[in-house]
Amino acid sequence: MEITRKLYGKGLITFLLIVFRSIFLLASIALVIMGIYGILSLFVEVTESKSIFPVLFSITKEGILNNPGDLGSAEFNLFSGMGLIVVDEIPTGFKLLFDIILFMSYACSLFYLKLVIKILEAANQGGFLIIENAKRLRWIALLGIAIYLLGFIATLASSFYFNGKLELMNLEFTNFNRFSLVSSNSVFNYLFLLVIAEAFRIGALLKKENELTI
């Protein structure tokens, strides 16, 4: 008797596979171009080379909050903000350091995407609840934390470097502010994913044991 296993949501999995494979392909091309451009810029003088860096700031001037109705207006201060600056010329040493951090972050993202594709491929073949997928989930969580940390380091490095070097009316550039921790909740999501990965691993072990119970 031929046993056929009906796979639910196959259409969705196929769709997600196409989407993630496309993103992976585009990200790979971007990473290769970024790598080649980074190496070339060390040896060849590239004209019109503009770099983008994140900076943290606060606004010294007070603003006005117009309340609705009879409440009137109130003053407010903008203490924590993050923005991107476009710079024409920057010392090679700092630019190289920043590019290395960015490259590592993109490489982690690429590996992250590859693992998601592997999970979807396994699901497409009807083997979703397997130990390998639990390991992949764990790696995805660790990579997510690594990507967050690299982004955090890049922002801090950039803020520290430009602190005292930038001048703009009513803006005070800072090393560290509350905005630099704004995306820290994503770390908790990845920590939660680690817990799910462990539950997934135990589930896969139980499934295997059940399958080998005669």
Partner: protein, 69 residues
């Protein structure tokens, strides 16, 4: 695993093939093969009962404990 499955020994004693046992017990050949090779993680009492009935033996004739070194 310290539990050794002597199903092949019992089959040889009864001069019975695995396919014949599979038909009489109502367990698939692949599952019986897993059991025979000692790759099974657990065995249900109902399965053990069915095998013992067909092979006319005791559970101890099929399963054996051997302490690992």
């Amino acid at each position: 695993m310290p539990i050794i499955v002597n199903l092949d020994v019992m089959l040889a004693k009864r001069k019975m093939l695995l396919t014949e046992l599979s038909e009489k017990v109502g367990i698939t050949m692949s599952n019986l093969s897993i059991l025979k090779k000692g790759k099974a993680k657990a065995i249900r009492f109902s399965t053990l009962q069915a095998i013992c009935e067909v092979l006319e033996c005791q559970p101890g004739d099929i399963l054996e404990y051997s302490a690992e070194e």
